[in-house]
């Protein structure tokens, strides 16, 4: 079976500024996969998506969608991908239903009202079916962008920061919907700044920086790639003076007058608990390393 998205040796140089936005970029995403692409602003994520979708021309390289080359099968590849762009923009003359009906028409779907109604129901936009797009809230506009991308039942869905500026409840609702779509077999490529999103949704994650992939692995393995450790924060009732000597092996640090943090591997948990016996902290917080740590290490620190 061909990959859902296959990118080989992709280069993009913006002529006017000579900016090399994508440098020999290669990536393969399997069919049915839920894949995250992380990266700092200006890393090349949106350039990559715009090249796949059509608004940006690549300088060189090949891209195939479900085995079809986007250069030789331009219209076919566009008809099997759905793109949710980062920028929210709609034709201000139309209402929600008209936007989706015209969008269906672009894909050759003349009688698509039943499916449009189904999507509106799932995205909680059925009440706004006949509302002008200017009258929608930011969250509703984001949901309408997703509806536009799904109206022609694509095989691959690409989302460029779909939950940017969206409240927590809506973000979680969108995650639930995306999980459902992925379970039904839809391949999803997600770019996001919310690392929690990549951690909870995506099986594999790539990190892009300065136009190149700096990390690519299963999300869990990527998180553990810096080593497997825990961070424990202890909160005390009384002001801490000097850090107790028996906590030093666990990289103890005073982070405030009442808090100490410890860093240790999971295999040392019993030792840590023994060391805490006579200390009587009033609160404990335990964290594992997360994708943010990997992300910061690979991107911002390398950027200087």
């Amino acid at each position: 079976m061909s990959h859902a998205i296959s990118i080989k040796n992709l280069h993009k140089i913006y002529d006017k500024k000579g900016t090399h936005a994508l440098k020999d970029f290669s990536l393969e995403i399997n069919q049915g996969e839920f894949f995250a692409l992380l990266g700092p602003n200006g890393g090349g994520k949106s350039t990559l998506i715009n090249i796949i979708a059509g608004p940006t021309k690549k300088t060189s390289g090949t891209i195939k969608i479900c085995g079809l080359d986007i250069d030789t099968h331009r219209e076919e590849t566009k008809s099997i991908i759905g793109v949710v762009p980062q920028e929210v923009s709609f034709d201000s003359f139309f209402n929600v239903n008209e936007v989706l009906t015209f969008c269906s028409g672009y894909y050759g779907l003349k009688k698509n009202q039943l499916y449009i109604d189904e999507i509106l129901e799932k995205l909680n936009l059925h009440d706004k079916k006949y509302a002008n797009t200017r009258a929608l809230s930011g969250g509703m506009k984001r949901r309408l962008l997703i509806a536009k991308a799904l109206v022609h039942k694509p095989k691959v869905l690409i989302l460029d920061e779909p939950t940017a500026g969206v409240d927590v409840e809506l973000r979680h609702n969108l995650w639930t919907y995306m999980r459902e779509l992925n379970k039904e077999g839809l391949t999803i490529l997600l770019t996001t700044h919310y690392l929690e999103e990549a951690e909870s949704l995506c099986k594999r994650t790539a990190i892009i920086n300065k136009g190149q992939i700096v990390a690519l692995d299963e999300t869990k393995k990527l998180i553990k790639s810096l080593g497997n450790y825990k961070e424990m924060t202890l909160n005390f009732k009384d002001k801490i003076g000097k850090i107790p000597a028996h906590l030093e092996p666990f990289k103890a640090k005073k982070i405030s007058d009442y808090d100490i943090s410890l860093t240790f591997e999971p295999k040392d948990l019993n030792k840590v608990l023994n060391a805490l016996k006579d200390l009587n902290p009033i609160d404990i917080e335990l964290q594992s390393q997360d994708l943010e740590d990997v992300f910061i290490q690979l991107t911002y620190r390398n950027n200087g």
Binding site: A53, G54, P55, E75, E87, F90, S92, Y107
Partner: protein
Amino acid sequence: MQTIFAPVINNLLYFAVFGFSLHRAIPDIQGITYLQFMVPGLIIMGLVNNAYQNPSSSIILMKYQGLISDLMSIPLKSYEIFIAFISAAVIRSFIVGGVTLLTALFFVSFPYTSITVILVASMLVALFFSFLGLFVGIWAKEFDNQAFIQTFVIMPLTFLGGVFYPVGSLPGVIGTAAKFDPIVHMINLLRYGFTGIQEISIWLSLGILGGMTLFMGIISFIALRRGWKLQN
């Protein structure tokens, strides 16, 4: 409403000023009344302005609204998008041209020398300016660019094209230079179709207009196909 009735109001004003107030001071031209002389020019103005504005303003508005990326992402072939823009422009310009003629028919009648020439000339004019409007829409960064072409190129060429006076009445070098104005040939063709008078050979005018339309059609299609100024 605005698209159709604004030209009607403009034409009524032209008829009022030139047709009724000044017609006694303006003698017949080659055996036809001044109103009969003027109407084909007014129809050309309607065709030109609307054929040009429709695609150019549509594309520039899409650029402003951030919808050009939608245009580049939909699975339509370039010629399908091209035909969509051009047909909309031609239909709009024909509606306005038709309304202009209908308004005029309340005030003037025509001998109709050749309906074929009227239709062919009208179609070529609408196509030429639709292609031009599409090209300008693709090239322009903002509405000012579109307005620049309309104000400093199209409007002077239209008014100097013989809408309100015979081009042959222009003296010396100016009269010779006017024959290089494409709108002179457009009005010449339409005026011949309605009234039978021609200041320039209609075959020359058809050849020039046909050639220009073909050229403009090719370069506007190539610009769209290649994503010039549309794709990053």
